[in-house]
């Protein structure tokens, strides 16, 4: 189709062939073309953090990334955290602590924290708060989210 680019992107360790308009964001391609709807659209302006995914291990706003610029980049979405129908330790910690209410901010929060824990597995409360400072949550007041991660890292017993 005219105006479309064809390329391949790697998401959760799987390669996907994409044909999409040049201006398509990573968020649009993930949700519509790859049917990975776990990454959420909260504002489409890069502020709320609900669309946070990892690009080569770093948290990025999928709504601000052009999908076509993601060739050769390792993208990780919330669907790539657990495996074989099981949740990973971080996801389990969120569940156990009551850190999930409406759940819309949860995927973005999980990815931001994943990036932190990959670098700082014993992160302090201050580091945890800094890591999620770009993820807005309207339901929880952030307390139980921070507590869930802090229990995992040992910052809270």
């Amino acid at each position: 189709m005219a105006g479309e680019l064809s390329y391949s992107i790697t998401v959760n360790d799987a390669d996907h062939a994409v044909a999409a308009p040049a201006a398509a964001t990573l968020l649009e391609v993930l949700r519509a073309d790859l049917a990975l709807t776990g990454t959420k659209r909260g504002c489409d302006q890069g502020v709320c953090g609900a669309c946070t995914v990892l690009a080569d291990g770093k948290p990025v706003r999928a709504c601000l990334m052009l999908a076509a610029n993601c060739t050769g980049v390792d993208i990780v979405t919330v669907e790539g955290l657990g495996s074989g129908g099981a949740l990973n330790d971080l996801q389990e910690a969120f569940v156990a602590e009551g850190a999930i209410q409406c759940g819309f901010c949860t995927p973005g929060m999980l990815l931001s924290v994943t990036a932190l824990l990959d670098e700082r597995p014993r992160a302090t409360v201050a580091e945890i708060r800094a890591a999620i400072s770009g993820n807005l949550c309207r339901c929880s007041g952030y307390t139980k989210i921070v507590e869930a991660v802090a229990r995992l890292t040992g910052a809270l017993r």
């Binding site: 959420k40 302006q45 709320c48 955290l81 969120f94 569940v95 009551g98 409406c102 949860t106």
Partner: protein, 769 residues
């Protein structure tokens, strides 16, 4: 009525938490249907104008456009809450910038949006009414000329742009001022706040060959969505079905229709599914806000702090359509006296139409505005008589058995315990914190106490014993993240003494769920919970009846055992499992075992011998909940910036069905209340919303929030509540803004009266000291 199965009172993980953690919960924009089209909305560019003519030819000509609809395609079908004043799309007039005027369905989102911009409408601009003062002006343009003819749930005569008037009075306020040794008065102003649920408004609608439309959307009540959609489409409700998928937050913003009726209308026009998802800006501009208010309040007391009289007038800016203005303004009055004994009360309320976004339900529902004025004035009174503000509140705080404003006796009332807990925990936490504020920053502490209700109108529940002995529950209540599904399942599991895994909790569906008046007003735990408990008990009774025949034993000698069994009391080996009872009922005798309970809130009514109520848009309400809030702030004297460095809240919830869920509500409500107190304000510039983005409308992030939000649960059981429980969703927010304002006054001496307490306003007040 304590639970033995250990499920009620335990922080069991939420039913949907694992799904949400995996990113597999499906919200409305995650759903697709074969042949699905995308809808886009064209909004009014004017705050107030007559619609002269439509030209949709250019829009229709865009390749990929399947349907274009305008108000001309529908009859004068109006829908609404207490006042039916809204049509599906603007018809005849537009009344706020962004009001949906036309809608387009097309094969993709961008085509739909492009075509929506090509709908050409000729308007005759009218002068706009943009504030309460504008609305009250004697020569103000009238926004709803046909107001007299609108169908209303209660008769209401209004003048000019008034949308509702109400009043509440007890005792003799005029005579009481003479008794007062000190009188304080103030005028307080509060702003429009936006719910800012993280999931923008959306709806997917599909039609069948019988002309029945189904809508999947975030809403706070499937039956309410069904009703309101049917109203504005002019269809019987049998042709409309509403379902909720996962919902990304509500807070009252989903308590009225969002884009469901428009999606439904497009689906009917196309004969295909249509999905509309609003951008964040469109959501800001077209859904609903909290009511801005201006409240004048006068409080009289004795020198020893005994409160004698409270009098005032509360004015609400209701925006372009009535939505919940009648109920919000009424509720603000009914909460006006607060959790205190004040024998003489006279408060009037008025709500006005203006040419701005409609104001509607928002966590607190008039109580945040009402409590802000009262709790600030109480602190002003305390300062006037040199009394500690906490002692002033304790001195006047209600005790169990005393009466709420309006005359209802309140059986469960833990406000004194809440105030004392908050004071003592704050004191000990602060004593342990030896860090001094940074240079240029001063610290202060502030308090508030508050109350709310947790029941009104009707709910129902159906519980069924399934063939293998597990249990199915269907309630029509709705979980927007607050945890209602889990709590209601816990109540059933406790009543039948089965594990949570044995409960199958149905998705709310207007086709199959009992009518449940919206998950609003903190009413779900108490109201729907009561229905679930009674329905579960009916199932228990029927199970026992079968078991008594199977075990050849009188029913009174039987008991439930944990894990789904019925046994002879004291003889556990003589028992039958639920599955055996189910099999007997399905195949041998009796038929499927179900329990149903529905009711309309039946607490003690208002007492016309004690209180004079006019225009109060509530037939009855109750299951009063109580709480207290304390905050510690740091004020930057150079900039006026305020940081909340500590927060303590205690809430009397009767009984915490799921303690972690209660804490989650208290903590989340605190931060949302902190936004209301300090940074959030919808700003209009000549009728256009100037800050409809997250960049310009600031909600608190984690770094804006205190490290610890200490949430303490107080349990003074409500005798009529399920296992003693009442609600908690809204009070979590109600006490925050006044506590913050009072803390700023404590730190600096500056007594502010206008929300939000921005750095500019605080700085200005500091300079005037």
């Amino acid at each position: 009525m304590s639970g033995e199965a250990g499920i009620v009172g335990t922080s069991v993980p939420r039913l949907d938490a694992r799904h949400k953690a995996a990113g597999l919960a499906r919200y409305s924009d995650d759903l697709t249907l074969p042949g699905m089209l995308f809808g886009a909305i064209a909004g009014s560019p004017h705050a107030h104008a007559r619609i002269v003519a439509y030209d949709t030819s250019e829009a229709r000509a865009v390749p990929g456009v399947i349907a274009v609809i305008t108000g001309d395609d529908f009859g004068w079908h109006r829908g609404g809450g207490h006042i039916e004043d809204e049509t599906l799309l603007a018809k005849g007039k537009v009344r706020y910038v962004g009001e949906p005027v036309a809608a387009v369905a097309a094969t993709d989102r961008k085509t739909a949006e492009r075509a929506a911009r090509l709908v050409s409408i000729e308007y005759e601009e009218l002068a706009a009414v943009l504030s309460i003062d504008d609305a009250m002006a004697p020569d103000a343009p009238i926004i709803h000329e046909d107001f007299e003819s609108y169908h209303k749930k209660m008769p209401m005569r209004c003048a000019g742009n008034e949308c509702w008037t109400a009043s509440v009075a007890e005792g003799d306020v005029d005579g009481a001022w003479g008794e007062c040794e000190v009188i304080v008065e103030g005028t307080f102003e509060t702003q429009a706040q936006h719910h800012l649920y993280m999931e923008p408004a959306a709806a997917l609608a599909d039609v069948d060959m019988n002309g029945k439309v189904t809508m999947w959307s975030p809403s706070q009540g499937v039956h309410y969505s069904q009703h309101r959609t049917a109203q504005v489409l002019g269809l019987p409700m049998s042709k409309v079905r509403a379902v909720t998928p996962a919902v990304g937050g509500g807070f009252g913003g989903r308590a009225g229709p969002n884009v469901q009726p428009i999606a439904a209308a497009l689906a009917l026009a196309c004969g295909r599914p249509v999905k509309i998802v609003l951008s964040r800006s469109a959501d800001f501009e077209t859904m609903r806000s909290r009511h801005p208010s201006r409240i004048r309040l006068k409080l009289g007391a004795k020198r020893d702090g005994t409160l004698v009289a409270i009098e005032g007038e509360m004015l609400f800016d209701g925006g372009a359509y009535a939505d919940e203005s009648p109920a919000v303004s009424s509720f603000a009055l009914m909460m006006g006296r607060g959790p205190y004994r004040i024998p003489h009360v006279s408060i009037r309320g008025r709500a006005f139409y203006t040419n701005k976004l409609r104001a509607g339900s928002f966590r607190g529902f008039g109580n945040p505005q009402s409590a802000f004025a009262r709790e600030c004035l109480l602190d002003d009174l305390a300062a006037e008589i040199a009394m500690d503000p906490v002692e002033l509140r304790l001195h006047n705080a209600m005790k169990p058995g005393e009466r709420w404003l309006g005359g209802q006796p309140v059986a469960s009332c833990g406000v004194i315990e809440c105030i004392e807990k908050v004071r003592s925990r704050m004191a000990s936490d602060r004593a342990a914190d030896t860090a001094k504020p940074a240079p240029g920053k001063i610290r202060g502490i502030g308090f508030s106490a508050f109350a709310h209700i947790s029941s009104f109108l009707s709910s129902g529940a159906m519980v069924q014993l399934v063939e293998d002995g597990t249990i199915a529950v269907n309630t029509g209540a709705m979980d927007m993240g607050q945890g209602a599904d889990t709590i209601l399942a816990q109540i059933c599991a406790e009543a039948l003494q089965v594990p949570m895994e044995a409960i199958s909790y149905a998705v709310a569906d207007s086709d199959t769920s009992p009518d449940n008046y919206k998950s609003v007003g903190s009413r779900t735990t108490y109201t729907t919970g009561r229905a679930v408990l009674a329905a579960s008990n009916e199932v228990r009774d029927k199970i026992i009846e079968h078991a008594s025949e199977m075990l050849e034993c009188a029913a009174v000698d039987l008991e439930l055992l944990p894990g789904g069994r019925v046994a002879v009391k004291g003889v556990p080996e003589r028992s039958v499992p639920f599955a055996a009872v189910a099999g007997r009922s399905l195949y041998r005798t009796g038929g499927p075992i179900t329990g149903t309970h529905t009711f309309l809130f039946d607490g003690p009514p208002f007492d016309p011998a004690r209180a004079r109520l006019e225009g109060i848009a509530f037939g009855n309400m109750g299951a009063y909940i109580f709480g207290a809030q304390a905050v510690e702030v740091e004020v930057d004297e150079a900039t006026g910036a305020v940081t909340v460095t500590g927060a303590w809240v205690a809430a009397d919830v009767g009984r915490a069905i799921n303690p972690a869920a209660v804490e989650g509500q208290l903590q989340g409500g605190f931060v949302q209340g902190m936004g209301y107190a300090l940074t959030e304000e919808m700003v209009w510039d000549s009728g256009r919303l100037a800050n409809p983005t997250l960049m310009d409308y600031k909600i608190p992030g984690v770094l804006d929030s205190p490290h610890d939000i200490v949430a303490m649960i107080v349990e003074d059981p409500e005798p009529t509540g399920p296992f003693g429980a009442k609600g908690v969703g809204e009070p979590a927010l109600v006490g925050v803004a006044p506590a913050v304002r009072n803390a700023i006054a404590n730190a600096t001496g500056a007594r502010l009266a206008k929300l939000p307490l921005t750095p500019e306003r605080v700085f200005g007040a500091l300079r005037q000291r």
